[in-house]
């Protein structure tokens, strides 16, 4: 997405692939716009949660147990999403939970991504026995029931933040290795790699300066999807009691805490789960959009609006039912 030489399809007016065209495109695509806004909002909440919370997320109150949304409180702020079984403010807990759940998703994707990409680069660039060994290992691990293995490992080593990130990374690095290897195999045969080698560039330089930059866009899309997957996995593990431990907060843990009160305090389970769902959905929509932007054909269609783009590409005009 960062290459500047891409001129797109020929047409009359010049369209720049920049901030303004992206903004105009987003306004035509309200679903993606919503996803981007939600993710931006979530990022701010996750980073600044300790300063943004309306109430102390740990403060218990016997008088305020399981109060419905919009219950007034002493400090002037409403309990916007109600309170939990210990009288703690649900919104504040979800905000702190966002910090935990989102950072586990992002960290897990970074750890598994770095390891997977390195493995994929080695396999794809050097081929030979390293390739055989790594890809055989990837195949074996892809055959695992990952959630079960994660449960088992967490049972042995114990839950908690660091263990959770490591176990999640352990179960998800293979997909990066596969994707990276496939693309590296194709890239290493490209003329620009031969050129770099001819002028004396070493393997490390070729990999980091010529191959890796070309992998970034698809890897970014993959990593976005993986963050969604990891957030879902974290919530499932914490829900079952093997992930984040109370009194800390995570979205899965909040769902699990509200489960016993589902008939009397519907807001506990509903809002906690909705937070996970909206996050995962936004990430998926965002990844779809990123993929469209990194594909030149789809990018111009999206930036110009569908009808214009089709007309430009066919050189004829008239909308057609093809994608």
């Amino acid at each position: 997405m960062t290459e500047s030489t891409d001129e797109g399809p020929p047409h009359n007016g010049k369209v720049h692939f920049g901030f303004r065209t992206i903004m105009a495109g987003l306004l035509r695509d309200p679903v993606t716009l919503f996803a981007c806004l939600f993710l931006a909002f979530l990022a701010i909440v996750a980073v600044f949660a300790p300063w943004l919370v309306p109430h102390d997320p740990m403060a218990q109150s016997l008088a305020l147990r399981n109060r419905p949304p919009l219950t007034p409180s002493e400090n002037g702020f409403l309990h916007l999403l109600g309170t939990d079984a210990l009288g703690r403010d649900l919104l504040s807990r979800l905000m702190m939970g966002a910090q935990v759940s989102v950072s586990i998703g992002v960290l897990g994707a970074v750890v598994s991504g770095s390891f997977g990409v390195i493995m994929g680069l080695i396999a794809g660039y050097y081929r030979g026995w390293a390739d055989d060994l790594i890809m055989r290992f990837v195949d074996v691990m892809l055959g695992f029931p990952t959630l079960l293995v994660a449960l088992f490992v967490l049972f042995v080593v114990g839950g908690g933040y660091v263990n959770l990130v490591l176990v999640l990374a352990l179960t998800r690095w293979m997909i990066y290795a596969r994707v990276t290897r496939g693309m590296t195999l194709a890239l290493r045969e490209e003329p620009f790699v031969d050129g770099a080698r001819a002028v004396g560039a070493g393997d490390f330089r070729i990999i980091t300066r010529h191959i890796l930059p070309n992998l970034l866009a698809p890897l970014l899309v993959l990593a976005t999807l993986e963050v969604a997957r990891l957030i879902l996995a974290e919530s499932a593990l914490s829900f079952l009691g093997f992930g984040i431990q109370p009194p800390a907060s995570s979205w899965g843990l909040e769902v699990s805490g509200g489960r016993s009160y589902i008939t009397t305090a519907w807001w506990l389970v509903s809002f906690s789960g909705a937070a996970i769902f909206l996050t995962a959905l936004s990430l998926n929509l965002f990844a779809t959009w990123l993929r469209a932007l990194s594909d030149p054909v789809q990018r111009w269609r999206w930036l110009l609006g569908k009808k214009v783009a089709v007309a430009v590409m066919n050189g004829t005009g008239g909308p057609e039912h093809r994608t």
Partner: protein, 305 residues
Amino acid sequence: MIRYVLRRSIHSIGVAFVVVVLVFLVGRMVGDPARLMLPVDALPEQFESLRERLGLNEPLLTQFFAFLGGAMSGDFGDSFWQKVPALDLVLSRLPATLLLAAATMAIALPSAILLGALAVHKPGSWADRAVNVASLSGVSIVDFWLGLMLILIFSVQLGWLPTSGYGGIEYIVLPAVVLAASPLGRIAQITRSALLDEMSKPYIRAARAKGMTRRRAIFRHGLKNAFVPIITMAGDETTSVLNGAVVIEAVFAWPGVGLLLIQAIQRRDLPLIEATVLVVAVLVIITNLLVDLAYAYLNPRIRYS
């Protein structure tokens, strides 16, 4: 084909072996079985007698071969909790899990294909966009949360379906629908993109030029040729259903292998945990094997690569 079947089967046995090694390494080396199984305040003598009984004072290699031999002959020791052979317990729970997985795929596969075909019928239409958002929602939904919400609506509020348990067909509806959400989304997406690919090929154009309606072209010709990626994705999703069943069985108290694993972990019953993990692993490995063989059967190019 026979050579491919052989090669692929050997690979599966290799994967199973690695799973056994991994379970041994994690259970016996990273963790201390005596410490995992006994309560925190157990006396030193209790640790020692349990170590002796489990053979934990033997050399590691001896322990490993004993474990491997046990795993291969299906002997994981007795469950501490139920005092019966762990494997028997796991196998007695297996039919419930298989039934749930089958019901899930029976819901997910046909509806996903229909949704995908609906999207392709008019690409870019509101129906296409609705299918896209619906399938992304299916992929993004938190399955245990969806389960709890459906219990709240259909069991608690409306009283139409039981909240949890095992019995007649009314018990399987909610867990199967919940588990179907994610495979439905993924298969619908792959159906859409595979069908779109097919629809731009010459044979479809020829059929359309002769006056065949788009719907007929989709169902008579397109789907048949788009089936290979759809079936592959369906196979992958079956293994993730077996995985996801752990959480959903716990939510609906469905007496399958997943619920058993949770119960075993809560009771720190190591033999039962190991037996459960290995049985499900074997199940997943067999599913993967069948998917790959079906894929090779449908797509001859794979067999010779």
